[in-house]
């Protein structure tokens, strides 16, 4: 019935863990915006860049927020009723990494406006995920696919 082919066995994650991670990420990014521009904001942003990088490279279940979820939250709420494909949240971590890195670079080079705007974009995406369960990166991906593929076609 299905025409979707997957060559490798897809990794599965607990969707509640990803949602929890988005919540923690939102709080961290919010703190950065409140503290910015300052050395403290720079330090916290550096940390978040690292977190995004781990999530994008090793998968969303490898990051520190996911670890926190598995150690503290999950034992209290039990196993998930269903699991999710790890690819979309991993992609989202990559999108977050790009915005956070641009923000970090902005603050480091003294372009505070660039830093604030980039972090604000990352915050919007993280909050949409945490509060509304929406994956902004997934939506942008479709539009990107549409533009790129129609150009090469």
């Amino acid at each position: 019935m299905t025409t979707q082919t997957s060559t490798t066995q897809a990794k599965r994650i607990d969707p509640r863990g990803a949602r929890f991670g988005a919540g923690v990420t939102s709080l961290v990014l919010l703190v950065i915006l409140i503290l910015a521009p300052s050395v403290a904001a720079l330090a916290v942003l550096g940390w978040q860049v690292l977190v995004f990088a781990i999530g994008a490279i090793r998968g969303p279940a490898s990051g520190p927020y996911s670890l926190l979820y598995r150690k503290v939250v999950r034992p209290r709420i039990g196993p998930p009723s269903e699991t999710e494909d790890a690819a979309p949240p991993r992609f989202a971590q990559g999108v977050g990494l790009v915005f956070a890195a641009v923000g970090l670079l902005g603050f480091l080079l003294g372009a505070d406006v660039v830093g604030v705007v980039a972090v604000a974009f990352a915050l919007v995406a993280a909050l949409l995920n945490a509060v509304f369960g929406l994956c902004l990166g997934c939506k942008v991906y479709v539009l990107g696919l549409r533009v790129i593929r129609s150009r090469t076609a």
Binding site: M1, T2, T3, Q4, T5, L30, L33, I34, E82, E84, D85, A87, P88, P89, F91, V116, V117, A120, L123, V124, L127, L128, V131, F132, L134, C135, G137, C138, K139, Y141, V142, L143, L145, R146, R149, S150, A153
Partner: protein, 137 residues
Amino acid sequence: MIAVFVTLALTLVLGTTLRLAQGRVRTPRASSSGMPHAADLRSMGLDPGDGGTVVEVTTAQCSDCESTYRILVDAAAGRSGVAVHQLSAEQFPAVLKTWNVLQAPTTFFFDPKGNLVARVGGRATRRGIETALEGLV
């Protein structure tokens, strides 16, 4: 501090708007040109069903495609001859333009004659899918 409030307000508006648009069942206007037709499916290797055809356009980076597909299969199981397919946008990127797909999943409902009767953008609800399936008969 202003940046914080602007960002939060923007997120609230954007989130509410996107959330409300998720799963809305839209009926295409009759006799509009260039409408998706089930005849397009055979060229993409999909067999139309005798009782109608449901096609979910998916991507590799889609958080709601799986859950929507589960509901589609479950809801269609109660109706005879309805075929349910997933169509990968990476494999068939042309459908994004020709079927005007702006988000994944976008689900299309074709009646037994192959005419498009409904489309649902984003995460679908059980009730929305049932409504769309009613339109197939």
